[in-house]
């Protein structure tokens, strides 16, 4: 069954607007954040409008209702990523928070001086800096697997860097600046062969392909709700049961305890141990609606549609003289990073914006990727389920306009 794009477009109110002198909005900044569908907006609205209450603590009707809905999302996430148990789903404020949690809890407890953490050259800053902080704290060493000119991890080098010193491996499933889909299973298996623990940053994966933690067999996996058509300020950390059980909490407070006395406090069990304080209840409920939405469409269908968008976009942009692509792997999602002649991406972004086309211009929080290709920044068009061939035609025309201005 293929996607009904008109129907999908009508589900996203933001698409129904004209900007900058009456230009229809062409939203191609989905890797930064996706638009939100009506069911998500309505779920969040319903909570604030009629069902506002705190969770896990009230005996009254609204509190129980909110708790039920919040916990329903946990069940939905469990099914969505094929996790064994819903207790393995920890809600966080996003991918960044989840990675920091793992670094400060697992990392600070179980890594020691001289231990190595292996990442890749294409990581988002949120999968670099938390490990640098940890290295400063405990004296472990950060290693970086290089990437080739197509923007792929050089597998021989990655494998060679895995040694008995490697205690932790953390890598991005899909690169946000290059679009590369890493061979996650192969990378995880190899890391396990040397006894390392593996975290997969699936922030750019979950809205574009199916992610199955049982199949991957990674110890941790993270993603953000807002890149999955869900609310900002929501995210997920998946962890293997025995690891979550032995990890200490990073934040203390309400909800994460069973019993508090001044002499001794006993922590709650996972996932609550890691969810101190009042969480983003409305957001998590909205995330549930977002997961329902994509699950109904089907990740296989979404992936197939977006591949076809990628092919169409790559072909039509490739015709523009002076365009250069960054991230040319055969295995990639619908993300196109590009430069035109020697026009700075900021100038590209401004000219496109005036034509109603929203892209991102910058280093995309992956400065080492820019350094690898010796460029200051790129323009990035990233596609999603509601984008069309017309959007891509508008993009191509807008890029021609850039060339006109900068003859």
């Amino acid at each position: 069954m293929s996607l009904n794009i008109d129907k999908i477009r009508s589900d996203f109110p933001a698409l129904n607007q004209r900007i900058n002198d009456d230009k229809p909005l062409v939203y191609l900044d989905n890797a930064a954040t996706t638009l939100k569908s009506k069911p998500v907006i309505e779920a969040v609205n319903q909570h604030y409008q009629m069902e506002s209450a705190n969770i896990h603590r009230g005996v009254h009707y609204l509190s129980e209702l909110a708790t039920q809905k919040y916990e329903d999302t946990r069940e939905k996430v469990k099914r969505f990523i094929n996790a064994p148990k819903k207790e393995q789903i920890v809600f966080t404020s996003g991918t960044t928070a989840a990675i920091n949690l793992v670094a400060q809890s697992y990392g600070k407890t179980y890594l020691q001086e001289g231990d190595e953490i292996l990442i890749t050259h294409m990581e988002h800053h949120s999968n670099i800096v938390p490990w640098q902080i940890l290295c400063e704290q405990v004296g472990c060493v950060l290693k970086v697997a290089p990437i080739n000119d197509d923007g792929e991890v050089i597998m021989d080098e990655y494998l060679a860097m895995l040694t008995e010193k490697t205690k932790f491996v953390s890598f991005v499933y899909v690169s946000n600046s290059l679009g590369t889909i890493n061979p996650a299973k192969q990378m995880i298996d190899a890391a396990h062969a040397v006894g390392a623990i593996v975290l997969v940053d699936a922030a750019q994966a979950v809205a574009h392909m199916s992610v199955d933690v049982k199949d991957l067999d990674c110890e941790f996996m993270t993603f953000s709700g807002h890149k999955l058509f869900g609310p900002t300020g929501t995210g997920v950390l998946y962890g293997k049961e025995e690891l979550l059980a032995k990890m200490p909490p990073v934040m203390g407070g309400g909800d994460m305890i069973l019993n508090v006395t001044f002499e001794k406090t006993t922590y709650n069990r996972p996932p609550y141990k890691f969810e101190a304080g009042t969480p983003h209840i409305a957001g998590v409920i909205g995330l549930g609606a977002a997961i329902d939405y994509v699950s109904e469409l089907g990740l296989e269908e979404i992936a197939a549609y977006e591949q076809q968008l990628l092919d169409y976009a790559t072909n039509s942009l490739d015709n523009i003289p002076g365009i250069r692509f960054f991230g040319t792997s055969k295995h990639k999602t619908a993300i196109i990073s590009f430069l035109i002649d020697d026009v700075h991406p900021h100038d590209i972004g401004s000219i496109l914006d005036l034509q109603g086309v929203a892209i991102r211009a910058g280093h995309h929080c992956t400065q080492p990727v820019m350094q690898r290709f010796d460029i200051p920044a790129t323009g990035r068009a990233s596609f999603s389920i509601y984008n069309t061939h017309e959007d891509i035609d508008t993009l191509a025309q807008a890029i021609h306009k850039v060339k006109e201005v900068f003859v």
Partner: protein, 151 residues
């Protein structure tokens, strides 16, 4: 609204393509480095200032978008041969211009050619681009050791 009329005027495009006073100034008396961490624009500004406070020479090097490069190029032209005081009051006027504050007739006279940057105030994301080299100039004049950033 036409972007090439408003933001990318011919003068700006010309300075972007052929930046004036571009390169390292040997024997500079004043220097500062300017950086916009958000987009990676990066410029060094060099001055030679004589004993009486006159800017004998001004040069810049680095990379960034057309707006930031043209702004740096035209800035060096505008301050060359002028006093430090003049450069400072010129920046005051320039800042007003690109942030959309009212500029008086006298202010506009002072700005001269720099008035081509008037369109920038309608593009909030680009104000920092236009102002980066000027903030760096201030850093060079004050001889602050730290890198100047726009954040």
């Amino acid at each position: 609204m036409n972007i090439s009329d408003e933001l990318y005027q011919q003068v700006i495009l010309d300075h972007n393509k052929k930046p004036r006073n571009f390169g390292k100034l040997e024997g500079a008396t004043h220097f500062a480095e300017g950086f916009n961490p958000l987009c990676g624009d990066h410029y060094n500004v060099y001055l030679t200032v004589d004993d009486s406070g006159i800017i004998e020479n001004a040069m810049f090097e680095g990379s960034g978008c057309a707006i930031s490069k043209a702004s740096a190029s035209m800035m060096t032209q505008a301050i060359k041969g002028q006093t430090i005081e003049f450069a400072k009051s010129l920046f005051d006027q320039f800042h007003k211009l690109v942030t959309g504050e009212t500029v008086t007739d006298d202010g506009n006279k002072l700005l001269g050619k720099l008035q081509v940057f008037a369109g920038v105030c309608r593009y909030p994301a680009r104000v920092k681009c236009a102002a980066l080299s000027w903030h760096t100039l201030t850093g060079a004049i004050d001889e602050s050791q730290d890198t100047v950033t726009t954040e």
